[in-house]
């Protein structure tokens, strides 16, 4: 069995109320050390107020080849954007 420590993906939530954001990955033997290491590697300059670590093997990603079937349909639905509709100036801010 390989003794290489497993890979973890690190997500950090910054100061300003935004969602956790992926910042990188690291190796650690277990959850506790993954969190400790994430603090040392990714938040040396007060970058975050909360950290998530997830084993990389537990992440399921969409395949690059599926880009068109997955995302193309939304391109055709321009009416989802408010700028699709013309509202007369007289109506005021909407």
């Amino acid at each position: 069995m390989s003794n290489e420590w497993p890979l973890w993906e690190v997500f950090v939530r910054g100061q300003h109320g935004l969602a956790h954001r992926h910042v990188g990955s690291l190796h650690a033997p277990d959850v506790k050390l993954a969190l400790n290491n994430a603090r040392d590697v990714y938040t040396r300059r007060n970058e975050g107020v909360s950290i998530w670590v997830v084993k990389s093997t537990d992440i399921t990603a969409s395949a690059p080849g599926d880009k068109e079937p997955l995302f193309e349909p939304s391109n055709a639905k321009v009416y989802r954007h408010p700028s699709f509709f013309d509202i007369p100036d007289e109506v005021g801010h909407m």
Binding site: S2, N3, E4, W5, L7, V23, G24, S25, L26, H27, P29, D30, L33, D40, V41, R44, R45, A61, A63, P64
Partner: protein
Amino acid sequence: MYAQMVKSTGEGVKSLDEMEPQERAFQERINADVKIEPKDWMPEGYRKTLVRQISQHAHSEIVGQLPEGNWITRAPTLERKMILLAKVQDEAGHGLYLYCAAETLGVSRDEMTEQLLSGKAKYSSIFNYPTLTWADIGAIGWLVDGAAIMNQVPLQRCSYGPYSRAMIRICKEESFHQRQGYDIMMKLVKGTPEQKEMAQDAINRWWWPSLMMFGPSDTDSVHSAQSMAWGIKQNSNDELRQKFVDQTVPQADYLGLKVPDPDLRWNEERGSYDFGEVDWNEFYEVLKGNGPCNAERMAARRKAWDDGAWFREGLMAHARKKETRIMAAE
């Protein structure tokens, strides 16, 4: 630069017409400035070149801790010591960001470490020079990190997403390193004549090795041409070296220190400094392993790896045992 003389395919750059459709689509994405991501199709040569470059860059960050670590216990004040400690910790962090970026290309961390320890993978020639005095810590921050920044800023636009993102993080942190070095130099030149002499001695020894960091002139290199076509590299080595000289000479003037190059003079016509030829023999000797500290650096890395083996294995065994217990309890 932290990655010098990275080999690519060695076959020269193909034109779009010579490419198969898949490779052509790949090249067109790069030409259109669209980032390449880990799971995307890429030519084997692109993947290999990136693994070489990113791992060499990562190894440089890690080995680069050694010359500076030498002065942590001997820093002149507690404040200087804390600052140097933070800087060296940053270098470790930079190495880790880069190893992770390389791992997205399908090489494992242990494989990369083994390649460094066996001498198969290289690290920057600059870290094979000794840090003899405290002024060397100033010169490293100012000149070595200055040269590194010159190289790393354009790498933020590299075509490979994970490398580009790692470089953005690194560049944000790097400017602290250069400033702390310059701050040390400023303090020394304002000190006693002996302290000023110490600063001059440091620039005398670090100036030329810093210019070597950009690698040899690459006008004729097929590797550089290919790396540029792939958007891995944005500027030629000579271009960046010139920029570094132009930026650094006025900083040396401000300190009242002499740049150790008799051929250095301002060229009004070019709006740049002319400077002397780097001793490329010395550069190739250091790369081959014959620099003043190559053996010492590698011995330190091997010792750290071997001495830490029981610890790495122990933590892993403990994690496995805990996991088995949790599973048994469920």
